[in-house]
Symmetry: C2
Subunit: 122 residues, 2 copies
């Protein structure tokens, strides 16, 4: 259940073009909040809100030294979303492989046999 | 700009646990709307709404034959999100590699030289 919430948050965090632009900038190296805000046509408060969504999702972490808050990528956060997609894709590709094998057997005129363990679940 | 909208939609579509459960089921093979609704504690209308979000994002496609609407994964949709994450991660990892090289050179007592082309952008 906690994992579900984590995946929800990461995908939600990445579903916004401004937040993706911030991640894109940070994937080239750490930056302060004011550096991140400079190229954006947005109030500093707006940028801070987006950074909070990213931090709560675990995609970035921030650290305050004196009056400067520095943001950096937290690779584990992006990993959550990447893993979820890769697992779905791998299920899908294994299914296509099985279909390919069945078709190849039929073309060769061999009897169609789906091994029990691989039988499609209802 | 169109690409941005596409990425927004895919991440938004995947930011919901019910929609991810539907994608998970479909990654094992195509299914009708009523089959997809069976295990879910939700009205058919609710399931149809979630399927529409998935279809508009390009993550699934649906096809109606007679009275049955069959849903299936559209791999290109998941590919949009996967590519976006993988590109960010690769930027980040290349940066870590460069930092590693600089540290290794310093340990060996060699002069610290960052090639011009690789110099960190401000």
């Amino acid at each position: 259940m906690l994992e579900q919430v984590a995946v929800d948050r990461v995908f939600h965090a990445l579903a916004d073009a401004t937040r993706r632009a911030l991640v894109e900038r940070l994937s080239r190296g750490p930056a302060s909040v004011s550096d991140l805000a400079k190229p954006l046509d947005m109030t500093l408060a707006g940028v801070v809100q987006h950074l909070q969504v990213l931090e709560q999702s675990g995609v970035i972490r921030t650290e305050k030294t004196g009056r400067v808050r520095t943001c950096r990528i937290e690779p584990a956060g992006l990993g959550v979303a990447e893993r979820w997609i890769a697992e779905r894709r791998s299920l899908w590709e294994r299914r296509l492989d099985r279909l390919g094998e069945i078709l190849a057997e039929e073309e060769l005129g061999e009897p169609r046999a789906v091994p029990r363990g691989k039988a499609k679940r209802k």
